[in-house]
Symmetry: C2
Subunit: 316 residues, 2 copies
Amino acid sequence: MPHPLAAPLLSGNRRALARAITLSESTRPDHEAQAQALLAEVLPHAGKSVRVGLTGVPGVGKSTFIEALGTWLADAGHRVAVLAVDPSSARTGGSIMGDKTRMPRLTVHEGAFIRPSPSGGTLGGVARRTREAITLCEAAGYDVLLVETVGVGQSETQVAAMTDLFLLLALPNAGDELQGIKRGIMELADLCVVNKADTDPKAATRAQTELTAALKLLTPKGAPWRPRALQASALTGAGIPQVWEAVGSYRQAVDVAAKRRAQTTLWFDDLLREAAWRAFQAGLDTEKLRALRAEVLAGNLTPVQGVQALLSPPPA
Amino acid sequence: MPHPLAAPLLSGNRRALARAITLSESTRPDHEAQAQALLAEVLPHAGKSVRVGLTGVPGVGKSTFIEALGTWLADAGHRVAVLAVDPSSARTGGSIMGDKTRMPRLTVHEGAFIRPSPSGGTLGGVARRTREAITLCEAAGYDVLLVETVGVGQSETQVAAMTDLFLLLALPNAGDELQGIKRGIMELADLCVVNKADTDPKAATRAQTELTAALKLLTPKGAPWRPRALQASALTGAGIPQVWEAVGSYRQAVDVAAKRRAQTTLWFDDLLREAAWRAFQAGLDTEKLRALRAEVLAGNLTPVQGVQALLSPPPA
């Protein structure tokens, strides 16, 4: 029996989409089963969007950049969905007040859909909900997905693993500021954009040059895509079309379908490992685990012995 | 009952050390139990060395650099052990012929001990054996451990996770050559050394400048240690003392004991997850796994449904 939300969702009804996402975020077992059935039902209609991940240090102007890019795309006829992965999100309900004030123009645009981060507790939980929200948005006809990460913990890796292209926003006053970019993030970037270029054009060009050099160093020979650094101003709109042009070039250079298959396989395997680990932990003696880890750290047992002692049944 | 190898090992007997490492590399269950008992016995005597991980692209002169640094240290009275992590190692026995020709001076130095990579099949297996070899070498009185990685797969990450400091060797003709450095490796480096600086001093200085800039970009603000780029020549010996000086500065800046505790905890948890995953896989229906993964990739099932179908018992 088809889920009652399926038909309105597939026809692009925004309220149905919002409710479907809320359903997929619920932890009630009956809701989870319903959400999975709904997801399976709409799955054949998903997958037809351009999925862009975005990150950047606080103050880089992420929201205004997404507002500028999203509005420009929606004005051009695209249907744009904005999602977020924020494992620190302590929101209790579905309020999107924060996002409404952050992106005033996009929020009221009829071609756009904005959804704040699910508050799933663990990063794995948040990431899973966001992946499912991507599927639901695509099924509802959104053809551009902008997935933002606030850059807490490993959230960038997760967002890069669910998007086609990962975009790193940077500030013009490179030197010190760039050092705020976390270890490993530069490596994920397919595109760097120096935002707020209007505030200091000279510094922006210097930052662009430095980022280009860093990206060059970090890209292996023979890679199908060489990450680029661009300049833009969310405020004036300068550079925004060029960013979208670069996204297009990327999608021509890279086999996106193959990348997505690899992402799905990894996701499946992660879920499987997680389920296996949960089942294992459920049967684990946590007191004994704590004691054995302490013994290992004290150098009284080798790690291998510690694990063996934990897994072997106590002598009868 | 103490293991018969323990006493000669602790007195620094080289043959006992070699035999102990061979024992720890054996996959025979009785050998494994013996090796773990021996390791536990000598564990209180281990941990007193400086552990340096080394990597670099082929042709960078890794062996000659290790030979130069190792000989210089051994001449100064240090006891130097050289280990390797090479998951591609297809050696069948314990031959160290390859390493003997690669490091002719160090091989015959009485203050040095060289051991090729264990051929443990998986990277995890090789890494575990190497960690155990570190313990055995330290118990035998070696106070400098140089752990080399050939840079296959994730071996650098593994070596960085078992050493105090990770050293990346680079070539003077930076530009193109540096691009051979794999994604993510630069991020692991605590120290970069431009080797073969004698062959092209100008290019070496340029490479040093470029590496310094890249390291600066990749190091977060407030980090206790700012990775440095140096120059050296394994051939002339120039720069070797400065490399060791930098290792000393690193050890003063960083809380090595805390780093090692964190490494041991991670190792223990990895072993535990691995054991849990093995136990889980042993009970897994691989036919069903293959079929369900295909269904997920075809878009007929969500990944969550695929995992659930795999874990739920078939209807009776």
